[in-house]
Symmetry: C2
Subunit: 624 residues, 2 copies
């Protein structure tokens, strides 16, 4: 165990993201509550204040924090939970060998249990409901909601400087997010705050169309590859670059203990697909799945602190044959497992029939539903077909049943969809699911670019995020080909962060443009380091720059390798600006002057006096 | 010179793209005309015919062709040109030292001239007009138009199998492209066929909203980096991966000879920005530019065979001060040079005032206009502003003036534009420029991801391509940071090919989905090699696959590293399909059965008889 924990400590990346530092901002109205953000510092010459950005990286980027993977992160939310007086500590379900894939009781060859995993879990006292939606509907503003409000308000202070522009397709994005706004969004089901009572290490965050668009990163081993150390490392790596939640999709052996290591060290909500582990417990034979085994698995994972469960309860027996017409059939693992079960027994899905019992479990821990789209299209050919929408409307029906018990819900979406069919997915989801947050995978806008599916899907993700999707599930370059490694995880996360940000800009999120403007201003003023530090991936930006101009001087010089020394555009713009200032007159004057031959020689002389020599080129131009 | 040419031969990549071979298809109605395409062969087990794809790679991927960089490519179009009887051979303008950046006459330290560069150029006989638009308006269907018709008809043979779907935003995409349709599109200015009479090596291609969306790749050295060998190599590399045209944006020394090596070896149209070379000729002092020097440069490049010129004639004196309000001013090199000139002399741009004289030169060689957007926005903040649209409407005015002389025109577009402002660009361009082809750079949908601007712009490119842009100018990962190397060029081209293809799918191009369907079917049937070969980048796809499952067996096994051996989705779909078949009844029957407890045990038995064991997982699923 010492062995593995040390391996883990070695594997995890810590330290601040370059050019910035972790800060903790007191929440409006509740100064005791300190909200984590990141502050990017600009060159003094700029005269610009630091730029605050949303930060998902947790203590790992905080120089003040000491990281011990074997101890896990501090239990930030525990005091808030206990103060509510509706929880009880109890003896956890005993961890069984099959939880880790039929390992012997000695766990030989397995992952050592997390050292402090023996602590007692919490759950709702009898008759109580721990879900944030339940509190919200009772008019209670929780610390989680206050935290979210402050966290979402990044840059709002500068709002005065902006004329909001954007097309939000019916969203209701406020100028300023208040705790009461958060409560109202959660109460009506338009946003969720995934927050399992047994994952107190998580920093509260919201998923909803009126908040910043979020990004999920998938990790997880399979019987074929990966190990626990590298999965914990991938989690920390993914949140460093901006993953808002992480799904552990592990299959194979050691699932239970791998998940424990991940959750105890995760400052972001963790999601899972419980049917994967349930299938392992029955040796991979879908027909042998039972409600009892599944329910026991839900308890097991709820006690560990999983914040949301993907449940494929919309894959109903009558819909299964609809997949027979398809080019690529059923491409969801969970969906195919349930389809198999339904056919084998020729019975309706137990996930559908026992849905209200599942909801009882969810509310005892505040696990949120992520209703799975088991029948999503796996190819352009299958997009928006009968099977897909039959399931979607069933998910809408289930959403209302979950809401009837005040349990939080989001809805998973496709898949492979050509651009002209993306909007219909969003519109039908809003209609069928009463604005419950949409959580989409891509969609991939073409099938012909394996190896580049982070891009084929990033195109669709930016669009559906603009239309109203609340969280985008990333796709890595390895999609369809293999398991993502560390580099793939980073590329996937950064690609989806830029897609989510493009969506925030297009929706007219009031704070979104602050960072674009700061970076563009730095570019115009040749502040290379500020350009790097303000970007989503400063390391890659500087590395690319240095491949052509390694010299330190090149980072301060008014010079770049694209134009070369003789060409300039930024500098001329500055001259134009100065000239217009000296003339202090509108362009109409120029129009007049254009006709007035008389004035020309004089104005030409004036311009030359202002100093018109051509400087060296800047970095702000595209080719041509 | 032997030295450099051998260097060039070493640098160039030849040989077929894996899994496919170059074919030459006789054109409908003119069998003598053989149109280059690429045929991807599928595993015999598939029982599928080869998939024909559009091919831009020229003889370099043809096993039958022998490549000699020092000899250049065969003059495919020369017989067609001579047959028209409207050209004359003449003594070319003498190459001056300043053409290569003030090198001494001995060219010491320079690039050796292309060996056969001494051949005589062609131009229109007095009073004649060589432009494809001129022929088209006289009702003449040229071999170039016949070639384009056949080339664009890829996959149309299978059209019967498709119900066309898509939203084309007012485009008029025919079910089948005829030579007459091509003639009509060129005659009305809605498409261009760039084809300088002195670039007979080029294979005819069309740029227009009713044809497949095209992609341009920029290459070119600057005083800071790059050399002629690597630029020719980049050109061949770019077209191998699908670049439809290439722009040589070289600055610094040896411009003339570098361009000659590129053109003589290019099977795709070559574009340039002549003002760059003109500026070199006056030592980089914008104010010293004159009409005479610029006109002489146009002749020089027209004689070499440049197929389209970017001319920033829309940067008028009265518009320059409008850029003063901007965050990032003028980000176009050509635009800033002309702005500088206008301010220094306080005169209207000579490009604008002498536009009709420029057009006289264009029609003598059939050089097409690419009217440059010198005032495009360089940041999200500046998108869709007064300066940008003032220029766009001027480009519309110039389009009509060029058309008055039957000269081909396309219009360059932005730039940096958030998603919600992209559509306005397309609509205003269609309105202002009478449907002349739009040729856009990106647009980049956010400023905050340097190092990933091929993706921030790929998102915008797919959208504006869908709305109607005819050609997308690629952006590489090095944008804003440095000059693209070989790898950057490939990533940029593949990213833009998938964006262009996503646009073709969304527009409802009748042949576009053939390749997606073939690849998805291969995926469903576990034909891994076919998946790789059908993809835009087979090498990367296989390499990614092999990182997790290197074994040869894994390429035939019904197995992949993402699900691992116990999980499956494709296989279950097959079982569902078989079962539905054995039952031979609609899903309504299932709905009934759901209520009918009685039938269930029997149907369950039937399913088990059809063999219901779970196979190993497939490669067609997304995570979850």
């Amino acid at each position: 165990m010492a062995d593995i924990s040390s391996k883990l400590e070695i594997g995890v990346t810590t330290g601040p993201i370059r050019g910035s530092r972790k800060i903790h901002v007191p929440a409006q109205g509740n100064p005791a509550l300190r909200v984590a953000m990141r502050e990017i510092h600009l060159e003094p010459s700029s005269g610009e204040p630091p730029v605050r950005v949303y930060d998902t990286s947790g203590p790992y980027t905080d120089e003040q924090a000491s990281i011990d993977i074997s101890a896990g992160l501090p239990a930030l939310r525990r005091p808030w939970q206990l103060a509510r007086g509706d929880v009880e500590e109890y003896e956890p379900r005993e961890v069984k060998p099959e939880d880790n894939g039929q390992l012997g009781p000695d766990r030989s060859g397995g992952v050592p249990p997390f050292p402090t995993a023996l602590r007692k879990p919490l759950r709702a006292r009898p008759g109580m409901n721990l879900s944030q939606m339940h509190y919200a509907r009772q008019g209670i503003v929780t610390p989680e909601m206050e935290y979210v409000a402050e966290r979402e308000n990044l840059g709002r202070a500068r709002l005065a400087a902006y004329n909001r522009s954007g097309e939000s397709f019916g969203a209701s994005i406020p100028d300023y997010v208040t705790p009461e706004f958060v409560r109202d969004e959660v109460a009506r089901g338009r946003a969720i705050i995934p927050s399992n009572v047994n994952h107190p290490e998580a920093e509260p965050m919201a998923i909803g169309r009126n908040f910043l668009v979020k990004v999920n990163a998938n990790i997880g081993n399979s019987a074929v590859a990966s190990d626990v150390a590298s999965e914990v490392d991938k989690m920390v790596w993914a949140i460093r670059w901006g993953a808002d939640t992480v799904m552990d999709l592990s299959t194979g052996r050691n699932i239970h203990d791998t998940r424990e290591w991940i959750i105890r060290n995760s400052p972001v909500p963790i999601g899972t697909v419980p049917i994967y582990q349930a299938l392992e417990k029955v040796g991979g034979i879908a027909e042998d799945l039972t409600w009892e085994i599944f329910a026991d698995t839900l308890i097991e994972q709820a006690e560990q602190g999983v914040d949301y469960f993907t449940i494929h309860a919309g894959v109903r027996l009558p819909f299964v044959p609809l997949a027979a017409k398809r080019m690529t059939g059923i491409v969801s693992r969970g969906g195919s497992i349930m389809a198999k079960w339904c056919l084998a027994h020729h019975k309706e899905s137990f996930l559908y029939e026992r849905f209200d019992e599942i909801t009882e479990i969810m509310k005892a821990y505040d696990v949120a539903y992520s209703l799975g789209d088991g029948l999503r299209p796996g190819s352009i050919y299958d997009a928006n077909d009968e099977a897909q929408f039959a399931e979607l409307y069933t998910l809408g029906e289930l959403t209302k049943r979950a809401w009837a018990q005040d349990v939080q819900v989001m809805i998973e979406g496709p898949g492979h969809v050509p651009m002209h069919k993306i909007r219909e997915n969003m519109e039908k989801q809003l209609e069928a699911c009463g604005e419950a947050p949409f959580y989409t995978l891509g969609p991939l806008t073409t099938d012909i670019a394996p190896g580049y599916d982070h891009i084929t899907s990033g195109i669709g993700a930016a669009q559906i995020g603009w239309y109203g999707t609340a969280m985008l599930c990333y796709v890595t370059p390895k999609e369809h080909l293999g398991l993502p490694d560390r580099d793939d995880v980073k590329v996937g996360v950064v690609t989806y962060k830029l897609a989510a940000h493009a969506a925030d800009l297009a929706k007219g999120h009031p704070a979104a443009q602050v960072r674009d403007d700061a970076l563009s201003k730095a570019r115009f003023e040749f502040r290379w380091r500020d350009q790097f530090n303000l970007s989503l991936d400063p390391d890659t930006a500087e590395q690319y720059h240095d491949q052509t101009l390694p010299a330190e001087g090149a980072k301060s010089a008014h010079f770049c390798s694209m134009c070369g020394p003789k060409f300039c555009s930024m500098k001329i713009s500055q001259e134009v600006r100065d000239f217009a200032a000296t003339q202090n007159q509108p362009s109409s004057r120029f129009l007049a002057a254009e006709e007035a031959e008389a004035g020309m020689r004089e104005m030409s002389r004036v311009f030359k006096d202002t100093g018109s020599e051509l400087y060296m080129g800047a970095g702000g131009r595209e080719h041509d």
